[in-house]
């Protein structure tokens, strides 16, 4: 079945009511629930960002006092990291797409998958409750001794993050087992779509790094509740050990964020260049290489913490080596685009933004990985700009690209291209306004996490805040467009973009069971055999059309 005709019963209409969603075992519904929740927290985190930027419009007090400011930037970071960007692409799009890409009916452990979503909800509740109990003001890193001495509700927030960690681990286990055991006939490892290679590498990090965060947060919680003393210098403990533990998770965690984004990129670039992906194996194996290397560089966050010089040098060298597999990917994407017939649909606009913005983010990472420059740049806005270029310019942009790419598949509707492109353009402009100015002021010495600043930085702060407002407008356009499409959008064909991965072989939206029989998998990037068919407004295999 190539699904060119709409199927009456799809996963959206299969069962009604709250319970049929909240207790569903269907990976597609779980993916959609994740998408909605994650998007909600993206908006919440964005709201805190607007408060931060507004406060920084002028030196001194603008709209809030200094203590509130500390709470707001902590909430912004914690919400964005733990509730949006880490679950982000894998939990929302991975859950929806992975089994369908494999031609399978579901992930290996549907119950575990549902449990993972429920844990996400519980973790989110703990985090939100902490806001009501007195929001944490330590920064999202919860460094000791801030976090052991503050009077805010560290326990609730870290318990939330701990639970969210389990949710992430369960997703990881599910993905690894599903990819190992449930590939369809004809799909060898070398025919696995690159998005799945990326999810696989991500899952490795999720299961190996997240437990370390778990024990770190547990120790922090017992530190606060019982005074166990492992991180408390007054009791002989070592606060720097906390930093080691924290970054042993949190550096690999940045690859939990970026690897799925890179996977999305591989799909988008090939499809919208109408060309077979260049360097399949290099891209696939570099994902695994990144996953492995990511465990060896955490010390680059601690160059100024007093760790040994030898340690600093080794971490610095290893940090540089991570840039190699990242660059391998970027060059292969460029080579894929070379002489392709590039189509500037909305998802591709996000992919192109990613290339530029992640390029800047990655390269500035090298400035920070070099010991001498880091001493100057550490804890300035330069670092803030670096990680926003990678996380927002990279991951969020890819998230939006993925959302526009799979939206027709998920909901069976096409959005307005015009509005989609406008939003993508506004995101790009707003983003650069917001964060490029931060590179400049950071390199001139504006420290991060400061409430007040000297006058000469004000023009940069004003620019940055204007950029943030542009971003807010962009998001209104974007969300309006997508929501509008749900009600008024043109019905989506099975394969609107002409992709060759299996999820486009079933109807949009997919039926409850995805595929009656496992489909035969071919080369996921062989786009030549798909041709545009006016009558269905989408692509269909050449033979099927000629046969019709």
């Amino acid at each position: 079945m190539n699904g060119s005709t709409a199927v009456a019963d799809n996963y959206l209409s299969h069962g009604r009511g709250f319970r049929s969603w909240f207790f569903t075992l269907d990976h597609k519904r779980i993916g959609v629930m994740y998408l909605a929740s994650i998007f909600f927290f993206l908006i919440l985190g964005g709201f805190f960002a607007m408060l931060i930027r507004t406060e920084l419009l002028t030196p001194g007090r603008t709209i809030m006092d200094a203590d509130t400011y500390n709470q707001v930037f902590t909430l912004h970071g914690a919400v964005m990291i733990f509730l949006f960007i880490i679950p982000g692409i894998p939990a929302a799009f991975g859950n929806f797409v992975l089994p369908v890409m494999l031609g399978a009916k579901d992930v290996a452990f549907p119950r575990l998958n549902l449990l993972s979503y429920h844990l996400y909800v519980v973790g989110a509740i703990f985090s939100v409750v902490s806001i009501l109990l007195g929001a944490v003001d330590t920064g999202w890193t919860f460094y000791t001794p801030y976090s052991t001495t503050t009077h805010t509700s560290v326990v609730s927030m870290t318990l939330g993050a701990f639970i969210l960690g389990f949710s992430s681990i369960f997703t990881g286990i599910n993905f690894i087992v599903t990819i190992h055991r449930m590939r369809p006939p004809g799909m060898s490892w070398n025919r696995l779509p690159l998005f799945l290679w990326a999810l696989y590498s991500t899952a490795i990090i999720q299961i190996l790094a997240t437990p370390v965060l778990g024990i770190t947060l547990l120790l922090l919680i017992v530190e606060r509740l019982l005074g166990i003393g492992i991180f408390d210098p007054a009791l002989g403990g070592d606060p720097v050990l906390y930093q080691h533990f924290f970054w042993f998770y949190s550096h690999p965690a940045v690859y939990i964020m970026i690897l799925p984004a890179m996977g999305v990129m591989s799909e988008l670039i090939s499809v919208f260049s109408r060309k077979h992906i260049f360097g399949y194996k290099a891209i696939a194996y570099s994902s695994v290489a990144i996953a492995v290397l990511s465990f060896l560089v955490w010390g680059h966050h601690m160059f100024t913490s007093g760790q040994s010089d030898l340690g600093n040098m080794i971490f610095s060298a290893l940090t540089f080596s991570v840039a190699i597999p990242s660059a391998i990917k970027v060059f292969n994407w460029l080579a894929t685009m070379y002489k392709g017939s590039i189509r500037l649909d909305t998802p591709m606009l996000y992919a192109l933004s990613f290339l530029l913005l992640f390029g800047i983010g990655g390269l500035t990472g090298l400035f920070l990985g070099a010991l001498a420059t880091d001493v100057h740049l550490h804890d300035t806005y330069f670092v803030v700009a670096h990680f926003h270029y990678t996380m927002m310019g990279g991951v969020l942009i890819a998230f939006l690209g993925a959302m526009h790419y799979w939206w027709p598949k998920m909901f069976g509707r096409m959005y307005s291209e015009k509005a989609g492109r406008l939003a993508a353009f506004l995101v790009f402009v707003g983003f650069n306004l917001t964060f490029f100015s931060q590179f400049v002021m950071g390199s001139q010495g504006m420290p991060r996490r400061y409430y007040n600043y000297v006058d000469r930085f004000q023009s940069y702060h004003v620019l940055s805040t204007i950029g943030a407002y542009v971003l807010a407008i962009a998001f209104v356009v974007l969300a309006g467009n997508l929501i509008h499409s749900l009600f008024r959008g043109r019905k989506a064909p099975a394969n609107p973009w002409g992709s060759a991965t299996l999820e486009w072989m079933c109807a949009s939206p997919p039926p409850h069971d995805n595929f009656a029989e496992p489909p035969e998998a071919g080369d996921p990037y062989d786009l030549e055999h798909l041709v545009y068919d006016e009558s269905i407004g989408g692509y269909a295999p050449r033979t099927a059309r000629e046969g019709a």
Partner: protein, 265 residues
């Protein structure tokens, strides 16, 4: 729903094509989960390594307060329960229900005995104030009486000299004590400084392990309860198998904890 080839009445979830695929998926998933458990403890082992590396004197001094006979007893108990568990899995595979029931019961008993011994040990620490960080309030005289060996350590080797932390740099006045000052403060101390660190590590490690024993008991207990419904047989022993894997991991972690905490030289 598909059924096993041999016709046993065990259904596999609809999204698997074959029972074999279902079985192997479950097994792989379990192994990965065990890997996450190892890493969870990994953090504590790392903390142990750091503090023991920097302050061997604390560990040498403080471990004497642990009762290595009770520790050895517990090791024996857990290893035995691992044996009964492995045997239980085998008897499930062979379809020997009576033996399976007996062996699971023995395993449960072993786990409970382990926890019982642990309670005795904890109570002793509690009574003597040998607790973690903030709660460390030893009663030196009493404790020395009960643990002559700890006092001996102090007599034999001046522990202060064994720390691997170099004396703090002497900065402008007010930044750090000068070398003489620290030494003076130290010479007539009865025990090395920061002994509470050892007990912090001890309670964190054994406490988390204890929680895992409890979790293991709950899982095995659940398997045990379902025995009555005749849930297991030669073609359906996965639950027993998985519970067994978990139990072996819990056992394995203790096998590392015992020498690291109780048998220090």
């Amino acid at each position: 729903m598909r059924r096993l080839e041999n016709g046993a009445a065990h259904e596999i979830p609809h999204h698997f094509a074959t029972p074999r695929q279902a079985y192997e998926s479950g097994k792989l998933g379990m192994w990965i989960f065990l890997a996450t458990e190892v890493l969870l403890f990994g953090g504590l082992f790392a903390a142990y390594a750091v503090y023991r590396g920097n302050h061997p004197e604390i560990f040498i001094y403080a471990h004497r307060f642990l009762d290595s006979r009770l520790g050895a007893l517990n090791t024996l108990i857990l290893i035995t329960s691992s044996l009964t568990m492995a045997w239980a899995v085998r008897s499930a595979q062979l379809g020997n229900r009576r033996l399976l029931t007996l062996l699971l019961a023995l395993t449960l008993l072993g786990g409970c005995a382990f926890l019982g011994v642990k309670v005795v040990e904890y109570e002793h620490k509690w009574k003597h104030g040998l607790l973690w960080g903030k709660r460390y309030r030893p009663h030196p005289a009493e404790t020395a009486q009960e643990h002559p060996s700890a006092a001996e350590v102090l007599r034999e080797a001046p522990l202060g000299d064994r720390t691997n932390i170099p004396p703090a740099a002497i900065g402008p006045s007010g930044l750090a004590f000068s070398a003489d000052e620290t030494r003076a403060g130290h010479a007539d101390a009865e025990e090395p400084r920061n002994v509470q660190l050892f007990f912090g590590v001890y309670f964190a490690m054994t406490g988390l392990h204890g929680l895992h024993v409890v979790a293991g008991l709950l899982v095995i207990g659940w398997v045990f309860v379902r025995l009555r419904g005749g849930a297991y047989g030669p073609s359906n022993f996965e639950a027993v198998d998985r519970a067994g894997l978990y139990w072996h991991l819990v056992d394995l972690i203790w096998i590392f904890l015992f020498p690291l905490l109780y048998l220090i030289h």
